[in-house]
Symmetry: C2
């Protein structure tokens, strides 16, 4: 059943049917109703491919993320999809993993689908800050369609970024720990993303502002333990489930800390809740009371933060707001509005629970 059939059945031309389908005002109420009735009766659905060919768009947004089974990204995609769907956009989801090459490849593939916009979810796409060319593909993509980054920042034309102020978040937590009298604050991280760098900077600034020394051994990097990570992004390799990966991570952090007998600290700021829960497990194994003997703060305010004992103080990165803000601007850009705000930074919020007690 195509537009010709409907036209024939309605006794009008395909142009008129097309007008009705697209809600053009240049149709008399009468014919409009007639056509509508026929369409209803015939259960006609316009062919999206043909329409796509004519309009060179299928109202589709490409969403790329390293791993949809990661809680943070899943939440982001959930918000994005919901909002975009409201406005009639479909989402093609693609998961690239963490390797640089894979990111580039998936980006290209998504672009070849003639998406209207590309959304890059996760700080990973903003690169590690090491290699200059690592974000070149983002700029290249931006030459074809507007590119939106969720929790990442890349400078460039047609690139729009929404990100949490992780530097400030880390600063706030570290400062609170300092105020609580902690002297040796361990900074725990397991990835080198843009976001992780921001956090480290916040941590360092807070120490500096308090007149504390910045000690190298207190910035402790937990190497992704599955050794499948081409560039140490700290993500699952997907050969396994993400929850399985996360389970292992928690236990791994505990073991690493137990094994590392020379490291001394009275508090921990972990770059994500998984690491923080690992620290909690370590504390329990060591017989350390939390928060009295060891304060622990995590990041992302995930479900994990509440499951553990004691419950975890954690920084909320406000993904929902980031996504919502991004969608607002996507709509503007796609409607051809000019001067849409390119970058948007959102303040993170510390959710205080008993693991730090400050």
């Amino acid at each position: 059943m195509n537009i010709y059939d409907i036209a024939k059945l309605s006794g009008v031309s395909i142009a008129t049917v097309s007008r009705v389908v697209n809600g053009s005002p240049r149709v008399s109420e009468k014919t409009k109703q007639k056509v509508l009735a026929v369409m209803e009766e015939a259960e006609y659905t316009p062919n999206v491919f043909a329409r796509g060919l004519g309009l060179n768009s299928m109202k589709t947004i490409g969403i790329l993320c390293p791993d949809i089974s990661d809680q943070y990204m899943a939440e982001a995609v959930s918000h994005l999809e919901k909002r975009l769907h409201e406005y009639g956009y479909d989402c093609i989801l693609s998961c690239s993993g963490s390797a640089q090459e894979a990111r580039e490849h998936h980006t290209k593939l998504l672009l070849s689908k003639r998406i209207d916009t590309l959304i890059l979810v996760g700080s990973l796409y903003a690169g590690s800050g090491k290699n200059p060319g690592e974000t070149e593909y983002v700029r290249a993509a931006a030459q074809q369609v507007p590119v939106f980054m969720i929790n990442g920042y890349v400078e460039g034309e047609n690139i729009y970024c929404s990100y949490g102020d992780d530097q400030q978040g880390a600063y706030d937590v570290t400062q609170a720990l300092i105020r609580r009298g902690k002297k040796r604050i361990l900074f725990l991280y397991d990835s080198q993303t843009y976001s992780a760098r921001q956090k480290m900077q916040g941590y360092e600034s807070a120490l500096a502002d308090a007149g504390y020394p910045i000690l190298g051994d207190l910035k402790h990097y937990i190497r992704p333990f599955d050794m499948q990570q081409p560039d140490g992004a700290g993500l699952s390799d997907f050969s396994e489930s993400s929850s399985g990966y996360m389970q292992n991570k928690v236990l791994y952090v505990k073991e690493m800390l137990l094994a590392h007998r020379t490291l001394e600290f009275d508090s921990v700021f972990a770059c994500n809740d998984g690491l923080a829960v690992g620290v909690l497990k370590y504390a329990r194994a060591k017989g350390l009371s939390v928060p009295e003997e060891l304060s622990v703060a995590g990041y992302n305010n995930s479900t994990m933060a509440v499951c553990c004992e004691p419950e975890l103080t954690s920084v909320d990165n406000q993904v929902k707001r980031l996504c919502s803000d991004a969608v607002d601007r996507i709509l503007k850009v796609l409607q051809g509005e000019e001067d849409v705000e390119q970058n948007h930074k959102v303040r993170c919020e510390i959710v205080r629970r008993c693991s730090t007690d400050f």
Copy 2:
């Protein structure tokens, strides 16, 4: 840059270019290389819309799930996307929420995108078993494209199902609890999905086989607390983040149990880990030791099961296998193979941790 341009630049016809693009063997090596070179040079990408129009397919799979921010579904989608991507299929993701009407609407919408296959992720789509017509839309969809269900079962032509044997899983856990001497095993659930019904049946069979009575008050339904659930599917309403919802759920279960002073039990089998962690929180608040005074088992073997204290025994539903199995059959069906196995049941596995100690 279209196929005509490439043809002109290569000094061949568009048919030849098309052949090269599609890897037809009916092209001489020489012209093939020539065309390939031109395409490369011109950075030519075939127009997917035009191709879709011609082939009436864009190699796209529609994936529908109630909520991608739910850990279980995110994991499923992750596996599906990864496998399908390998075979050149793209995934359109759509999240329907839990309402019956929304499920039907999203299904229709996805079908109107001319997807090659529809995948329904989650037991919710198999209905509550109450209203006869509630799965009618699944059968209707199956008249247009093959429909695959992940962890759900609906009888019908062109409907293919992969599901964990949750009944057996529940049976095994309950039986283990009985063997350990537990007398009053609380069955905790918060949704009425196909999967939840299976679990309850397993629970009941195990009790029956042990000669235990099946007590109504020991089958405890936790009503979704946000009151935004049109049909009590126990899912987040998405107005909030899923992790926020889950955090609340854990605390809510704890409070509910504390408030319910007449309910007596020496062990709990919870339909999901969120509920189980809530029970753990309750036990702690009550000063009950786990597993000595209270055994707790969860379901889904999620990250939560390891974050809590003590760690949670949980049944692994084997999503990855379900998805992998589904993809295998999707490929077969799309290649026109006949007699593809319609239903596939996978045995669940108990992952034993210290919360039950059996």
